[in-house]
Subunit: 152 residues, 4 copies
């Protein structure tokens, strides 16, 4: 495969940023895109009272919301410019209470494909500079082209 | 097994309602507890711009946030009064875009246990009174007793 | 959709039976196809020492082998005659030790699709005529057409 | 944590080997334990006609049988000497057809725990010395002590 040109590189970063900005859920989470590379996206967010479960930790669903976006956009970086990405399914294991001031979610492509892309995610709680693995995700994506009403 | 007394019935409903009210995430979702019975909880919420993915549908993570709470509280209805419930893992399959005015999430206990409880969830989009299945979840819970800082 | 003709009905049953007969793994399990209907397949097998884990119960992987075939063939019943079915992923919850003389695995289509079909499976242990639910599966299938070396 | 004594090291290896030898399913697969270290187990097996799906590849269920044992025994290496290990659930993603002469399955502990241990598995097809990743697993284990009829 030939190396991506500078234009193409700009393109996938722009596409991910634009799509991320249209996700109302990411604004609700106060989530920021902190890294976008081919097959790799990192998202950060801060603890907030509107994201908690009953013990004051981050709700497992909110952890999975950020991980799902990280995995989905990691997949989108390697899809054609006119493709939309849909999540088929994901599974999350909660390893420890999501307790911390800040959280970092990693999405990584394990196996890209024309139709199906498989990704993995890891969530870390960050407390006073120390990172702790709190969740792992396996997430399967579908690349959709030429479907009405779906763009990236 | 003897029938639950009126007091016990009130107790598990009160415990679920109180815990639900402490989840900041449920307020962010505008989620309402609409049914609480032994092994069974339903949650409803309305579409809102702060809950969306890039195409304007409900974000898969927000669907899973409501389903995870429905499954977790379905499990809590059958746990001892002093127990806390933690999600070990869940898997969600997205069957159709989460497109609708309103959503109903069902959590059901499949297999209660002293330590591990297995539950299933189903999410429906409600549009002009018609319900459409949009997601299924399998969710494993742990019953935790006597752990510092964790109550129901 | 018009009703399937008698010829088409025979066709999907024949395709499932022929494909099942080519699975060496089903012979190793001593598995029998006991029900084949649109979107629905049941498989039975007997306990055997070559299928066990360390406590003498059916190995979780052997339970999932039979469930995966039941789910895959349930999906195949609703795919075009020239399609092959591939498993993208599955998740299994083991609810109780797989202890019994005989086992029955159900595969059911939850959501058929042109590319992606979502199915659910349930495994039962049968002991002296009494059935006990021992495992649940969620399984995602892909319908593949015109790919070299893959037929049903 | 103090270093394990030579006796303890021998103990966990012996316990894993003895338990593996009691799994009839591992003999059916022709599976060999090729690596046993704290939190880490590798299993190898050869292609055989009795392990196949309809296209002659290794059946997804047989891949998951070997991966489940690799993950379970990786967990057992870090459990108390009198504990038994049970699989609560696992999820497998099939990334490519399981096509090869030989297969290697890795089980790794991600998060050990007193009750719940979370592991990950990876399966590789080996063809003419070249390894290809064909499947990933996430597997949750329970450590069981003092339960009738269950030893390691």
């Amino acid at each position: 495969m030939p190396a991506a040109s500078a234009t193409e590189t700009v393109d996938f970063i722009t596409r991910v940023r634009d799509s991320f900005a249209r996700q109302g859920a990411m604004q609700t989470l106060g989530a920021r895109l902190v890294r976008v590379e081919p097959g790799l996206v990192d998202i950060c967010l801060d603890w907030a009272p509107g994201l908690t479960q009953q013990h004051g930790f981050l709700h497992a669903g909110m952890v999975s919301t950020a991980l799902d976006s990280a995995c989905g956009y990691a997949g989108l970086t390697q899809m054609p410019a006119d493709a939309a990405v849909l999540t088929i399914e994901f599974k999350i294991n909660l390893l420890a209470p999501a307790k911390g001031q800040r959280f970092r979610m990693e999405g990584r492509v394990i196996k890209p494909g024309r139709t199906i892309t498989v990704t993995e995610g890891r969530a870390y709680a960050v407390d006073e500079g120390r990172e702790k693995l709190i969740a792992t995700m396996g997430c399967t994506l579908m690349c959709v082209q030429n479907r009405d009403g779906l763009n990236n």
